[in-house]
Amino acid sequence: MLFHSPLFLFLFLPLVLFLYFFTSKYSRSAYEYILVISGLFFYAYWDIYLSPIIIISIIFNFYFAKLIKNKTDEKIKKTVLVFAIIFNIFWLAIFKYTNFITQNLNFLFNLNIDPINLPFPLAISFVTFQTIAHLVDCYNGKIEKNNLIRYSLFIIFFPQLIAGPIVRYKNMMSQFCNEKNRNFNYKNFNLGLIVILIGLFKKICIADNLAILVEYGFENYENLSFYESWLSSLCFTFQIYFDFSGYIDIATGISLLFNIKLPQNFNSPYKSSSIINFWQRWHITLSHFLTNYIYFPWAKSLKNINFINTMIITFFVFVLAGFWHGPSWLYVIFGCLHGAGLVINHIFRKFFRFKIFNILSCFLTFNYVNLTFIFFRSENLDTSINLIKSMIGLNGFDYPDYSNFNIHIILILLLSIIIVFVFKNTNHLIERFNSYEVQ
């Protein structure tokens, strides 16, 4: 069920909202069951046969977490934690990376292993990171109480189930358990509707239209001129932002209808003045996960923490983050480019004292990000290389043939540039709206 489908907007969501507030009047715990059942239905609606995958993951991880919390022996706790993390990575790898691994084994050792073609369960990448964070928090004693229904709710809460943001158990449970949040709140409801509309506008009016030009450009990568290649890459850079942030806006808006505030995931990332700054503004909850659950523990585990070691860790964390996006070497390249960008950025900060003009550093950062997204979008390395060749003028400077795509897409690209660089983001709107008192 897509967020922007009529079935979701006009039937599923109103029905769940009604049940959530109505049953809360008569029962203190009914809301948990309503949200868990609706989450399972939402998930199963994509493909009912994939539901067991997430249900098994929930049950196993709940008992892993329980075991970690109940054990007092530090060694056993750690062993269970390590086993549980391996289980989750293995679970993700089976469904997401099996074909990638077999293809690479075939290539490397000249084998002929047939691809297994397992179905790819929706949301498994986000669920895996959220689950690992929960297990580590249990190990560190940051989560005290837990029961199966609440844990299921944490994983399967449908607004953020498919594409995040990656939430933390403590932040979500403190809101779910707050009885005030089960009373209908006009202010949150109105704000939620506005944020949903903004998200729908971003997704349907901007991202989906830009996608037409992106598809044309990346399919005809061999024949693109200088201008066409820049148009294609820029359109994708804006498409991915409006698509992802639009989706997050819708998720944030829907959660607000239930009086639940999701963490901010985007903070005008294309206004970033450096790659470090970009990752403080783009997919913020992923950056938090990478920093808190991989980078810090890894760095702290070293006997000798120095600048070189931390840079190596930074690079590899981003290679991993790239690979997490999908089973392709192009995602690994995307991760490598961002890892390298971060390392260069840190070196610059540490060893060079002069400051670049803010506009210039924003311009450089944006263009570097634009370059990395070419690898993110391309079907193969040939596409990326050809597109970059065209962008540096190696395939000529002919003006684009606008008969290939509607001129309105160019206008949408201009509109998206204005929105991104001139306007404030949705989170500013939420904060401003929250500062007003409802009469």
Binding site: D137, S274, Q280, P297, K300, S301, T310, H346
Partner: protein, 81 residues
């Protein structure tokens, strides 16, 4: 194990983040200083650890994102003077 005070914490943050001490106080947060990134956070915690002779858990590092939060955590460890 030795103790640390607010002035010394501010001095450590100032040195690592590259901001004059006068611009920092108990309410200073990482989000207000563009150079207070994850690497700076790691270095701040390591410097404090060296000073007090006590390890700060890796799981806490992401949470100690302001001088106040650092002070509060150090109070729990009983290393603040």
């Amino acid at each position: 194990m030795s103790k640390i005070n607010l002035k010394q914490i501010i001095s450590i943050v100032s040195k690592i983040v590259g901001v004059p001490s006068e611009q920092l106080d108990i309410n200073s947060e990482s989000s207000n200083f563009y150079k207070w990134d994850s690497l700076a956070q790691l270095n701040i915690i390591i410097e404090i650890e060296k000073k007090v002779g006590k390890k700060i858990d890796a799981s806490m590092m992401g949470e100690l994102t302001s001088i106040k939060l650092i002070v509060d955590h150090l109070k729990k460890l009983n290393v603040i003077s």
